[in-house]
Amino acid sequence: MSTPAAIRSWEAHFTQYRSVWKTNVMGSFVQPLLYLLGMGLGVGALVDDSGRSDALLDGLTYFQFLAPGLLATTAMMIAANEAMWPVLGGFKWWKKFHSEAATPLTPNEIAGGVALWQITKSCIAVVGVATVLALFPDTRSWGLLLAIVFGTLTGAAFAAPISAWSATRDGDYSFPTINRFVITPLFLFGGAFYPISQLPDWMEPIAIATPLWHGVELCRNAVYDRLEFWPTVGHLAYLVTLAVVGWVMAARSFNRRLTL
């Protein structure tokens, strides 16, 4: 019985992950936990005592408001970084993709393996955060299972276009810039820490245009069972489109770069 090629390519990533998973889990599990406790409890006390939180946070405590957003932000950060150095390095430093290309695998299948792995990596991270959320009665719900799917999708929506970019690069100079000027601002302004209605009017449309906000909305509404049909369809369509278009572009770059 034969296994689909992209999955066989994915296995290589997974085998490698097994040897480094402990440090990785630290990143995807412990860091959000720290944010949750630090911000959720500390800032939460301030916000909840202000008496305005009911109106602003739709009846959620600040801790409840913040927690599901971390599913999306963690996926974003893990996926974005997975789409930078590992993708560039596969071409430039370790030549992993070239050695795959010497086998029956085609560039599309190699790109498919990368995409599957990025989804896996996002999913592992999101499951880590969801486990933390399940520890607290305020955020424990069956909706977490759906939120895992939405969080993973958020990761994909970042991994795909960034992979398309990385696969065309010859050096890693742009990666810190992406982290500094895209990922970190989104983390802060993407609606995870406060409703984007709190942003200045001109910034609100920008926040809406970014994939993170859609992911945060999906995760939060899933956890508290507040998903409404059309907004949900809109968010999903946006994220899925980004992921699909991004990976199609990435696959093109893989073809160009592996067919000399």
């Binding site: 290589a12 085998t15 490698q16 040897s19 480094v20 992993k96 070239h98 010497a102 029956p104």
Partner: protein, 312 residues
């Protein structure tokens, strides 16, 4: 299944590879027969690696025909790659994985069941004498060991054809000899070897037949012995004179042997019999500081055909 022995395993007709305006391979014809060990010799930039990439089915030819295992390389790349092993110029091993996992992961690319990959990995590590390093990471291994892992990895799909791009570049003499020995055994098992090298001793050791490439073209073809016979008299007399006086001494020995070459540090006289040539040198009253008579080597042929100027 291998095609009948009379059919070439690799057949290239007027094979061309261009990158923009640059012609890397300028219309070459090659035939490699099953079980043969075939070499591409040439200085850097001669077009060896471009040719190897086309044979490896990762680089489509610009024009010309290329058939491997009787299949068209442009249309059946996937199938052809499945029956081929590739040892790249620089090791492309996964440094974070163990030696054994490198082999298993690679075998999975060929859709070989995991258990079978494991079995073959053990066998292959024994073959390249690395059984005791199976669970070691790649990073601490020596250059020669990494090379052997690369070779083991390239054999995981039990290929009919093995492509080796400069297999021993950068290795110390011991490591090279171990590697040659292993490659020789593969050849004995019937694996067709195609390799590039710029080491003449390697070509003489490993190749039944070879082509010398220069500037994207084939400038000579034959077995190492044929090439030496065809392009160089049997022996070489090397004369060393005090530094800086080569030119005047070249004048003294002019006309001896078939051909002469004045290098900065010595004069080479190509002759059928080196001793006879030396007698004549002495008879003319020329007294070199030191003298060496040796057999013509592939290196002499190579330098004659591709010139002595440095290619970077």
């Amino acid at each position: 299944m291998n095609p009948p022995a009379s059919t070439p395993l690799i057949e290239a007709r007027q094979l061309v590879k261009r990158f923009g305006d640059f012609t890397a391979v300028g219309g070459i014809n090659i035939e490699v027969r099953p079980g043969e060990s075939f070499g591409f010799l040439g200085p850097n930039g001669a077009g060896k690696s471009s040719t190897m990439r086309m044979i490896g089915c990762v680089s489509p030819p610009t024009s010309g025909d290329l058939n491997i295992f009787g299949l068209d390389a442009t249309r059946h790349g996937k199938q052809i790659r499945g029956r081929m092993g590739v040892v790249p110029q620089l090791d492309q091993l996964d440094e974070q994985l163990t030696v054994q996992d490198n082999l298993i992961v690679y075998g999975r690319y060929f859709d070989i069941p995991r258990a079978e990959c494991k079995r073959r990995a053990q066998e292959l590590l024994e073959f390249v004498q690395l059984t005791d390093r199976a669970d070691s990471k790649i990073e601490p291994l020596s250059g020669g060991m990494k090379r052997r892992v690369s070779i083991a990895r390239s054999l995981i799909n039990e290929p009919d054809l093995l492509l080796l791009d400069e297999p021993t570049t950068g290795l110390d003499p011991q490591a090279r000899h171990v590697l040659w020995d292993r490659l020789y055994r593969l050849k004995q098992q019937g694996v067709t070897l195609v390799l590039t090298t710029h080491y003449m001793d390697e070509a003489e050791q490993l190749c039944d037949r070879l082509v010398v490439m220069d500037g994207g073209r084939i400038v000579a073809e034959g077995s190492p012995n044929e090439l030496i016979r065809e392009h160089s008299p049997r022996e070489v007399l090397e004369l060393r004179y005090p530094a800086g006086t080569n030119e005047e001494h070249a004048f003294e020995v002019e006309g001896i042997g078939h051909r002469q070459e004045a290098l900065p540090d010595r004069i080479l006289i190509y002759a059928d019999d080196g001793e006879v040539a030396l007698k004549e040198v002495h008879a003319r009253g020329s007294i070199p500081e030191s003298v060496l008579v040796r057999r013509s080597s592939l290196e002499d042929v190579f330098l004659k055909l591709t010139g002595r100027s440095l290619v970077d």
